[in-house]
Symmetry: C2
Subunit: 132 residues, 2 copies
DNA sequence: ACCAGGGCTTTACCATGCAAAGCGTCCTGA
DNA sequence: TCAGGACGCTTTGCATGGTAAAGCCCTGGT
């Protein structure tokens, strides 16, 4: 496709945010992963739930998504015959999360650069235009 | 209905990502806003479309969302009797976008801090657990 | 007069997030 | 010992929201 003229910033005419992983780019899951990355030995379902202020169903669903994506391991067991779930980042999860964060840094940098660049934009502005 | 004792909606706001605006926190719109913030005088529909590699319908829809949220102004007019749409950040849009970026910076900082903190192991958490 | 094509909008579909309801187990008290 | 409630999750149902495809209106060429 045509790479249009301005503000490439990242190479190839594409922006940094193109690299943002959908799975991770979600508030709730971002929180889960941030919590997990700080606890390499894992967190129990409820610890995670409290840390992230999520509802049970919510957390359950997101964990499922993260697990299916190979980002977290989920250990299910029984503690005194009651369900007990331990969640932990996989190595790949750790890698991909850090990668995501790295992209995020670039997004921020892009945005700040863009905001500062303050380009006087294309010609012929609001001639005969009316606000929507 | 009022099933008490599930999910304590309380004490949120622990992490930076809580402050991420949904409207902005979306790849496509993030791109649109990043483009717009670099062009204070506005961009034409097609310029934006090319910059962001979006389809027409896509861009149209996202602009609508952003406009309804008060983040962008959309000027519709005719250039040689053909429709011409100019998009520009509102002052508020500018403010909220920068604020969003600021939150993003904190998210990154949190994540990196978490990754570095690397809390030492409390051993044998997986006693009697089986992988999912 | 016709057709191609530009410049958007609308429609239709499908993925996804989220809260409420559900399920099985344990614990307490009567 | 048998309610009834509290945990610890999972499942269900709904509403939102992103996207590609189709549609609409215009104009300029032939």
């Amino acid at each position: 496709m045509a790479r249009s003229n301005k503000t490439p910033i990242t190479d190839g005419g594409r922006f940094a945010y193109d690299g943002l992983e959908r799975i991770i780019h979600e508030k709730a899951r971002l929180g889960i992963l941030t919590s997990l990355v700080a606890h390499p030995n894992g967190l129990l379902f409820n610890e995670l739930k409290d840390l992230c202020s999520l509802t049970d169903g919510n957390l359950s669903r997101h964990l499922q998504v993260l697990h299916e994506a190979g980002l977290v391991e989920v250990w299910k067991g029984l503690h005194k015959n009651r369900p007990q779930t331990l969640c932990r980042l996989t190595d790949e999860g750790n890698r991909r999360f850090l990668e995501y964060i790295n992209v995020l840094e670039n997004v921020v940098a892009d945005a700040l650069a863009a905001a500062r660049s303050d380009k006087a934009s294309s010609p012929s502005l609001t001639d005969g235009l009316t606000p929507a």
